[in-house]
């Protein structure tokens, strides 16, 4: 039997009840066909929504009445065909290669910020969960720090760390660290006592319990925070680039503001969206691999 998609197994199972083997195959084919058709319908609906949105945008910014009387003016909101042209220019067209340094700079800072945040958040969460008294001492400071509007510190960070990579990474870390830390801490604290007692009857020492029970359990919670962590890391980096930088996607957006160039701005936003979505997708894959033991990834 080929690998069947999850969503139609129930249909296949019900088709086995009271049926002969011969009809079983046709039932299965029908179930498979229905699942495929269902997926096709959903996908085409999604494509049509996107196409309608872009189409309306394009048409309205070409309609004189709208351009004159509303904000539907290519000066303000550009237009899909212009954005496409600009993206082509930036990558392979007139200004071929222009975009790569900006894109890689943002990507690099986001990844470094993410990795640093995950490592420090994970370690801090694990250490603090091992030491309940220290956790009680630090509790008000941590909740306080978490409640702060942390973006208010971005100019200060730029002041201290300059206009380069460092301030972007620190900003990303400043935002993402708490996310990872809290998740790991919570995960590490809520291990059920009977699991630890059971491992002790198997002869586990404290450090064996830490490595075989606490760490994997906490890691599950850390991984659950990753998709959000990567999204927030990107936000942090772009924010730092707004405030002060010489290269990067945030820098491009701020530059296009000063030159009042909506096409540049929309092109950058489009690329940033693609970057964000790709990063989250990759991280989900990684999470899926490492968390393959967890029931929510059951297949």
């Amino acid at each position: 039997m080929p690998d069947l998609p999850v969503d139609n197994t129930a249909a296949i199972r019900s088709s086995t009840e009271g049926d002969g083997l011969a009809t079983l195959k046709t039932h299965r084919d029908r179930a498979l066909g229905e699942a495929n058709r269902d997926r096709l319908i959903v996908f085409s609906a999604q494509v049509s929504i996107l196409a309608t949105f872009l189409g309306v945008w394009e048409v309205l910014t070409r309609t004189p009445w709208f351009v004159k009387n509303t904000f539907m003016d290519p000066f303000f909101i550009s237009r899909p065909s212009l954005v496409a042209q600009r993206l082509y220019d930036w990558t392979v067209g007139a200004q071929a290669g222009f975009i790569w340094p900006h894109l890689t700079s943002t990507l690099m800072a986001t990844m470094i910020g993410l990795v640093v945040s995950v490592i420090t958040g994970l370690l801090a969460g694990l250490l603090l969960s091992q030491n309940p008294r220290l956790a009680r001492v630090l509790h008000p400071f941590i909740t306080g720090a978490n409640a702060l509007p942390r973006i208010a510190f971005v100019p200060l960070i730029t002041m201290i760390f300059g206009l380069g990579l460092a301030s972007k990474v620190v900003t990303a870390w400043f935002i993402v660290f708490f996310l990872v830390f809290f998740n790991t801490f919570k995960g590490s604290c809520n291990i059920e006592k009977h699991i630890i007692d059971f491992c002790r009857t198997l002869g586990a020492t404290q450090s064996q319990i830490t490595w075989n029970v606490r760490v994997p359990h906490a890691l599950a919670w850390t991984f659950a925070a990753l998709p959000n962590a990567v999204a927030f890391s990107l936000i942090g980096v772009v924010l730092a680039e707004f405030v002060g930088s010489t290269v990067g996607m945030g820098y491009l957006i701020i530059t296009s503001l000063s030159t009042l160039n909506a096409t540049d701005m929309f092109s950058t936003i489009t690329l940033l969206s693609v970057l964000g979505i790709s990063l989250v997708t990759v991280i989900r894959r990684v999470e899926r691999y490492f968390m393959r033991w967890a029931p929510e990834f059951r297949e």
């Binding site: 059971f198 198997l202 002869g203 020492t205 033991w293």
Partner: protein, 264 residues
């Protein structure tokens, strides 16, 4: 093998003191299978927790294998099965079963040998590389049992080990447990709320009273072994044992029931 004398357990909550266990006295001989039954809240699980050293008694002595149980120090050769799932979901079945041996520093190839033998014994060879979430509740409880058996325990404490399973799976596991026990001859102390289960498996059934609990009946189940867990329930002998225990247990159930309503 296990000796519980004059054990009490008082829970403090604020200024209120609750006597969970009033005065527990009993012993379990080497190789014996003993069950403890009683109304809910009578401290059956507490008693088991104290034998395993997870909890300290308020007063009294517990002696396991000749030496007194000290709080936090698990007696040697003791295995414990919980009602709740204790299989670690991040390790596959083989890794889980070998965990106890890994904790004890047994070399990897010896662990693999033993794990293979245990899986074969339990008829779970195909599950070697599976993750626990692929297994049913009954299978996971089997794996938990194998995790414990891998460490060759002389004493098994079972805390409602089949409580979460359906009655069919339960009986299959009863059968397996009896097989294992007959081969290896551990001393088993089991807590259960299922009287049929207690009579099916045990040499002796101890009945605890409503709290503050004490032993109100120590009943010997002299049904010949090996027992067939499936046909046993139809026999008159079985019903007679259940009836005799129930005359005492039923009274305690009633008492707890009335109190629960009065407290509400």
């Amino acid at each position: 093998m296990i000796n519980v004398s004059c054990v009490t357990k008082i829970y403090h909550s604020g200024t209120r003191e609750t006597y969970a266990i009033g005065d527990a006295n009993f012993s379990v001989a080497k190789g014996e299978f003993v069950s403890i039954v009683g109304p809910s809240g009578c401290g059956k699980s507490t008693l088991l927790n104290m034998v395993a050293s997870f909890m300290a008694p308020s007063s009294g002595d517990i002696i396991v294998n000749g030496s007194p149980v000290l709080p936090g120090k698990i007696p040697k050769g003791l295995g414990y099965i919980f009602q709740k799932d204790t299989v670690l979901p991040w390790f596959n079945v083989a890794h889980n079963i070998g965990l106890g041996l890994k904790f004890r520093g047994v070399p990897q190839d010896k662990i693999a040998d033993k794990v293979n033998r245990l899986l074969e014994m339990a008829g779970l060879k195909g599950c070697y590389e599976m993750y626990p979430h692929h297994l049913s509740g009954g299978m996971r409880q089997r794996v938990a049992l194998l995790m414990t058996l891998a460490c060759d325990p002389e004493i098994l404490l079972l805390d409602e080990p089949f409580g979460a399973l359906d009655s069919n799976t339960k009986m299959i596991l009863h059968n397996e447990l009896l097989d294992i026990w007959q081969q290896l001859g551990q001393t088993i102390l089991m807590v259960t709320h299922d009287l049929d289960e207690a009579v099916t498996l045990s040499d002796r059934v101890i009945v605890l009273s409503a709290p503050p609990s004490r032993v109100v009946l120590d009943h010997r189940v002299d049904i010949a072994r090996p027992r067939d867990v499936f046909s046993l329930r139809q026999s008159l002998e079985f019903s007679e044992h259940v009836r005799q225990i129930w005359t005492v247990l039923g009274r305690e159930f009633k008492l707890v029931g009335r109190e629960a309503i009065e407290h509400a």
